[in-house]
């Protein structure tokens, strides 16, 4: 099966007065319908790897391939377009727009992409919210929701454009155990539906439920469970 996402010899150095190395020689491949968890201690480069995978950052060395296409030569506009079409992001903090309702927040990526009519966008958003048991909260604003509900809304927003890849950065970091398990189960379910899900977490318990686990230490991959 073709890799939807692949990195080869990826390196990232922050060009500060004293250069800081975030990642060194990382090579990984991700297939469709897979669920991968990236773990490691604080400062090991987990989030940095996720941002590079999601084209939010540019590697210092190496290459990120999206569906076989190298991306390092792409300009900001092309990377932005690719991000909109291919990736869905879930962050530790939900980052929902406070002035918009839950429904409007979920519709944001669809409105940006502009492929659907407004009624189609609304139907799609309501379907996603229903799948995440959030349909009855559609007209509320984020400040009226619990932490778990906000994160589920963020997941719905990430899925709005039906992206083949979902990237989650500490999606359960701000949740209690029960909500964290629920969100993780949702992410696992997305992989079963055919998406490539890559989640960063330092929760060992949740990481253990994933079929593949990549462990980073000091910016290097020290263990890739799928590879054995």
């Amino acid at each position: 099966m073709t890799d939807i996402l692949k990195v080869e010899h990826l390196g990232r150095v922050l060009p500060l007065a004293v250069p800081v190395t975030l990642l060194t020689d990382v090579s990984l491949a991700f297939q469709p319908a897979s669920f991968t968890v990236i773990t490691g201690p604080s400062g090991s480069g987990k989030s940095s790897l996720l941002y590079l995978l999601g084209l939010l950052d540019v590697p210092t060395t190496g290459e990120v391939f999206v569906d076989g296409t190298p991306t390092s030569a792409l300009d900001d506009a092309a990377r932005t377009r690719l991000r909109l079409a291919v990736f869905g992001f879930v962050f530790q903090f939900h980052f929902l727009l406070p002035e918009f309702t839950v429904l409007d927040n979920v519709m944001l990526p669809m409105r940006q992409l502009g492929r659907l009519t407004r009624p189609q966008m609304k139907n799609r958003a309501m379907e996603l919210l229903a799948q995440l048991d959030m349909a009855d909260q559609a007209n509320k604003r984020p400040d009226a929701l619990s932490g778990g509900q906000r994160q589920r809304t963020a997941v719905a927003r990430a899925l709005a454009n039906d992206p083949p890849v979902v990237l989650a950065d500490e999606p359960t970091g701000a949740l209690d155990t029960k909500n964290a398990a629920a969100v993780f189960a949702i992410l696992a379910g997305l992989a079963q539906q055919g998406r490539t899900v890559i989640a960063v977490t330092h929760d060992e318990g949740l990481a253990g439920t994933s079929p593949r686990r990549v462990h980073l230490v000091d910016g290097r991959v020290v263990r890739d469970a799928a590879l054995g």
């Binding site: 939010l56 377009r81 991000r83 909109l84 980052f95 727009l97 990526p109 409105r111 940006q112 950065d169």
Partner: protein
């Protein structure tokens, strides 16, 4: 509604009070612009109408602008001949063939002409002398080229035709001399003739220079007083289309050689003052609109700082930099449009109120301030306000677009 505009409105709604202050700033700027420029335009329009209506559109005089070529220069056209200190011929005999010229002009469509003789005269009253510019007119023909009849407050212009010793004077001069309709005044001319004239009409144009220093007598009477029988030294022309004044003046001057001045040239000094006045008024009221732009800059800068996280998330889900700029420019435009609409109302109400104020210095107590409200003024105010709004939004919008989403996301985690 586009996404940038929807986000822009949401941002403004979340900061209602600050938005209202910015809108109010633009509204006041637009309102003051409309009211003040309208007042100025009203005054200038009145003044211009008075100038144009009560004076000929083109005046041909018996002067010659440039001296005729000297015989030496004609004889040696290729030679370096310089003849200095030449005074243009200034015949005191008036316009030769005036009748022929007037007939030719009158044959042109939309052109009316009248012969006049202009000269200086001293009016004497109670031992005091008043130097005035005297215009000898044929009343019936003069009424076809000026609207002097409209400005007659007492008596009539036609009376000059009926009474050979009649004189029509300005209201300001009548007051200064202490004369009234029917009074007799002693006059003398440079030709030495002295006579008595009876006031048969009093006019008021509103133009001080004319009301105080210009009088009208019958043409043949002035010709007799100046010992210049049958002499005409000015031809007054009125045009159906005043925009052709320069064209007709150039044509007349080119054909007959006498100086033909369109009204724009005759009143050039006043028109220059109008230009200066416009520059000052438009500059000062326009700057109010620019200052209102600072309010918009303030609110959008604040929103950009507060919404850094939102900008980051929008960028991360795939909003291009251009859409981020569009979002904040849309905020500026939204404030600008609301301000313009409110400002139009403020301007309209302000101008309408000013129109109820009595005109300062007006003889007629019912005369009110003239405020000229035009689509152009409303459009110009809106244009400057919107330009100022976009300009004010541009700087923070560019800052927002340059935001690195990763920095914000990293900072939040």
């Amino acid at each position: 509604m586009t996404l940038p505009f929807a986000i822009a409105l949401a941002h403004l709604r979340s900061r209602r009070r600050q938005t209202m202050v910015s809108v109010l700033g633009v509204a006041l700027g637009v309102g003051v612009f409309i009211a003040v420029t309208g007042l100025m335009a009203g005054f200038q329009s009145f003044f211009r109408a008075q100038m144009i209506e009560s004076n000929p559109h083109v005046t041909i005089t018996d002067e010659v602008r440039t001296p005729a070529p000297q015989p030496l220069a004609i004889l040696h056209p290729e030679a370096a001949v310089v003849v200095s200190r030449i005074v243009p011929r200034d015949p005191v005999r008036g316009i030769a063939n005036a009748g022929e010229i007037m007939a030719a002009l009158a044959a042109m469509p939309g052109v009316a002409v009248a012969p006049t003789l202009r000269g200086q005269m001293l009016m004497r009253r109670a031992g005091r002398d008043y130097a005035v510019s005297t215009i000898g007119i044929d009343p019936a023909r003069e009424m076809r080229v000026t609207t002097l009849q409209k400005d007659i407050k007492q008596g009539s212009l036609e009376a000059l035709g009926a009474r050979p010793d009649g004189v029509v004077i300005g209201q300001a001069l009548a007051r200064k001399m202490g004369v009234a309709l029917g009074d007799t005044v002693a006059v003398s001319t440079v030709a030495g003739g002295e006579s008595a004239l009876r006031v048969v009409g009093i006019f008021r144009t509103g133009l001080e220079q004319q009301d105080l220093g210009q009088v009208y007598v019958a043409l043949n009477r002035l010709q007799s007083m100046q010992a210049r029988p049958r002499v005409v030294n000015e031809i007054h022309i009125r045009l159906a289309d005043i925009s052709k004044s320069r064209e007709i003046a150039a044509l007349a001057e080119g054909r007959w050689g006498y100086k033909a001045a369109p009204w724009e040239e005759t009143f050039a000094r006043i028109l220059e003052v109008f230009v200066l006045q416009n520059t000052i008024i438009y500059g000062s009221t326009g700057s109010i609109l620019l200052v209102a732009g600072f309010g918009i800059f303030n609110i959008i800068s604040t929103v950009v700082s507060e919404k850094a996280r939102d900008i980051a998330i929008m960028r991360s889900i795939g909003m291009p930099r251009g859409s981020v700029v569009a979002t904040f420019i849309a905020e500026g435009i939204a404030v600008g449009v609301m301000g313009v609409l409110a400002g139009w109302l403020v301007g309209f109400v302000g101008a309408s109120i000013m129109e109820t104020f009595p005109a300062p210095g007006a003889e007629d107590p019912t005369q009110r301030l003239m405020v000229r409200q035009t689509v152009f003024t409303y459009g110009l105010a809106a244009g400057i306000a919107l330009l100022s709004s976009v300009g004010a939004a541009w700087i923070p919008a560019r800052k927002a677009a340059r935001t690195d989403p990763l920095e914000i996301i990293r900072g939040a985690t």
